[in-house]
């Protein structure tokens, strides 16, 4: 099955927008993807016909809302190869999912004296919760290094894992596109007795995900990067592990009983879902998962490898040494994310010039300042691809680079 991009484009209403005579060329899906009509319709339909609070009312629409919410959980479980929906916790986003683990596991389950192993290429979402834990509890943090091609240095992994209680690494870098060998890291971590959390915010939207194959114990991702709405993310965890972890936020839904002298927690996954959850967003995420499954995640990945291969060679041909692209040179080792610098044009200026032609790219540090320091650049420009991008979009990017060079004549 190959992706019919022309027909995929038609599924995304926003791509019909005209920006001062230019079509919208959206190359920032790594920050947040656009939404297909199917997702928007599912959420509208839910609000128009079904909305009520979940797990509470006995009346018909409350029952239907609960079913819709829980059905979304089951779809997400299937999408990531989870054995059951009980391991799927809905959070606000990937960031909250990681914070949940840092608070709950990090404060209550991490054995005293054990370290946490991260990497230099992590998004701030997978750094700051652990820096906070270190400040509060003095937990030792270690970091896997990144080599000049943007790969994790794993030569010394076993030694670095000695004394580690939890490993948390990204499956795919949001800056470099690097796909990390999670299964290998998880095997080594388990041999060392550590629990493994994967930041899958960039990988779940773009390739087949199977938690059993990855071998991780916990996994975090966001709906908004995978055609779903903002406001909902997922923490998947092995059931026994989630059961052993104390609750994170307190309130309604997450309790079985409350007395004035104490409380007892609900079962997983609801134990971790305090308060009224993002119900319509869950419905939207369910529809997003259906949409992506309809395209086929193998086809999605194939499309992105092909487009990245094309972009790398076309941009190198046209711009030569003016363009410096970071990350692994082989498109099979990376996702559809290209971070680059272009001549001496500052990423902000480049992004501004591209914007005037309807082309959206990201400029800045991409929430990964330690990685930017490692790369030795204050900021980069980043173009990222998804199901609705094609060679014409890469062409528009390339034209924009020439336009920026002309304007700044440097």
């Amino acid at each position: 099955m190959t992706l019919d991009v022309a027909s995929v484009k038609k599924d995304f209403p926003i791509l019909e927008r005209d920006l001062a005579g230019h079509r919208l060329v959206f190359l920032d899906s790594a920050a947040s993807s656009q939404k297909p009509r199917a997702v928007l319709d599912a959420m509208d339909h839910y609000y128009e016909t079904t909305h009520a609070n979940v797990h509470r009312g006995v009346y018909t629409i409350a029952e239907e809302a609960t079913q819709a919410y829980e059905a979304a959980r089951a779809r997400v479980a299937r999408f990531i190869g989870a054995p059951s929906a009980r391991g799927v916790v809905f959070t606000k986003n990937a960031t909250e999912a990681i914070n949940l683990v840092a608070h709950s596991y990090g404060r209550a389950c991490l054995p005293p004296g054990k370290a946490v192993l991260l990497s230099e290429m992590e998004h701030h979402a997978n750094l700051v919760p652990w820096l906070m834990l270190r400040e509060e509890r003095g937990v030792e943090l270690r970091f896997l290094a990144v080599d000049d091609d943007g790969r994790l240095v794993l030569d010394d992994l076993d030694r670095q894992l000695d004394g580690v209680g939890l490993v948390s690494v990204t499956a795919m870098s949001n800056v470099l596109g690097t796909l990390n060998p999670i299964a290998r890291i998880a095997d080594a971590a388990h041999a060392a007795g550590a629990v493994v959390l994967v930041d899958a915010a960039q990988s779940v939207p773009h390739a087949v995900t199977d938690v059993a194959e990855l071998g991780c114990d916990l996994m975090a991702f966001s709906a908004h990067k995978m055609c779903g709405p903002t406001g909902i993310g997922v923490l998947w965890g092995r059931e026994e592990l989630l059961e052993s972890m104390p609750a994170f936020l307190g309130g309604g839904e997450m309790i079985r009983d409350v007395r004035l002298d104490g409380w007892t927690p609900n079962e997983i996954p609801w134990k971790f879902e305090a308060g009224t959850p993002p119900i319509a967003e869950a419905v939207g995420l369910g529809a997003a998962v259906d949409y992506l499954s309809g395209l086929g995640m193998e086809a999605v990945r194939e499309h992105e490898v092909a487009l990245t291969t094309h972009a790398l060679s076309m941009l190198a041909d046209r711009h030569g040494d003016d363009l410096r692209i970071f990350g692994p040179p082989d498109p099979h080792d990376r996702g559809g994310v290209l971070s680059f610098t272009y001549r001496d044009v500052h990423p902000h200026d480049l992004s501004q010039v591209l914007d005037s032609a309807g082309v959206c790219i990201r400029a800045g540090h991409h929430c990964a300042r330690p990685l930017m320091r490692r790369l030795g650049v204050p900021a980069t420009s980043r173009a990222s691809f998804y199901v609705y991008n094609d060679e014409a979009d890469v062409e528009a990017l390339s034209d924009g680079l020439f336009a920026a060079a002309d304007l700044f004549s440097i």
Binding site: L19, H348, D349, Q352, S356, H365, M372, P378
Partner: protein, 167 residues
């Protein structure tokens, strides 16, 4: 949608390509103050020499960043050299007022809808070349680039004020 020509005026590009007063000054006597925009990694380092009369005797800029932050810093140095502290502070205030259209948001003094027309210029302050930066307000995310060096300069005066013996 505002056009690129509203932002990248020729004067701005000229200051970007050939920045004025680039470099550093010995500290002391000069004050060295750093400004940083965490959003984009833009960085200015100002060296400001303030003489006994409270005038900007000399000023130099170091650091790196986008065309707007760098040209704004360059134009600022040209504009304030030789001015007294009071004159410079007036100019800083006038410049920030020119840049303040969209910078309300959470401060609670706006209507929450951003665009509500330009702030009237202070007729007492001649903005000269700096007028060229007025177009930046049409590009709200770039406002912080334009104001970075100005905020940093205000800090230099604050430091100098602290160092001055009380009279």
């Amino acid at each position: 949608m505002a056009g690129l020509e509203d932002l990248y005026r020729e004067i701005i590009l000229d200051h970007y390509r050939s920045p004025r007063n680039r470099g550093d000054l010995p500290t002391p006597p000069a004050y060295r103050v750093e400004g940083f925009n965490p959003l984009c990694g833009d960085e200015v380092v100002l060296y400001v020499d303030i003489d006994d009369a409270g005038r900007v005797a000399d000023i130099k800029v170091d650091g790196q960043g986008c065309s707007i932050s760098q040209s704004s810093a360059s134009m600022m140095t040209a504009a304030v050299k030789g001015r007294t502290e009071a004159e410079t502070r007036d100019l800083i205030r006038a410049f920030k007022a020119m840049m303040s259209i969209h910078e309300r948001g959470l401060d609670g003094n706006g209507d929450g809808h951003g665009d509500s027309g330009p702030v009237a210029p202070d007729p007492a302050v001649d903005m000269g070349e700096l007028e060229a930066l007025r177009g930046v307000v049409k590009f709200p995310v770039r406002i912080k680039c334009a104001t970075l060096s100005w905020n940093t300069l205000a800090e230099a005066f604050d430091q100098a004020g602290l160092d001055r013996p009380a009279e």
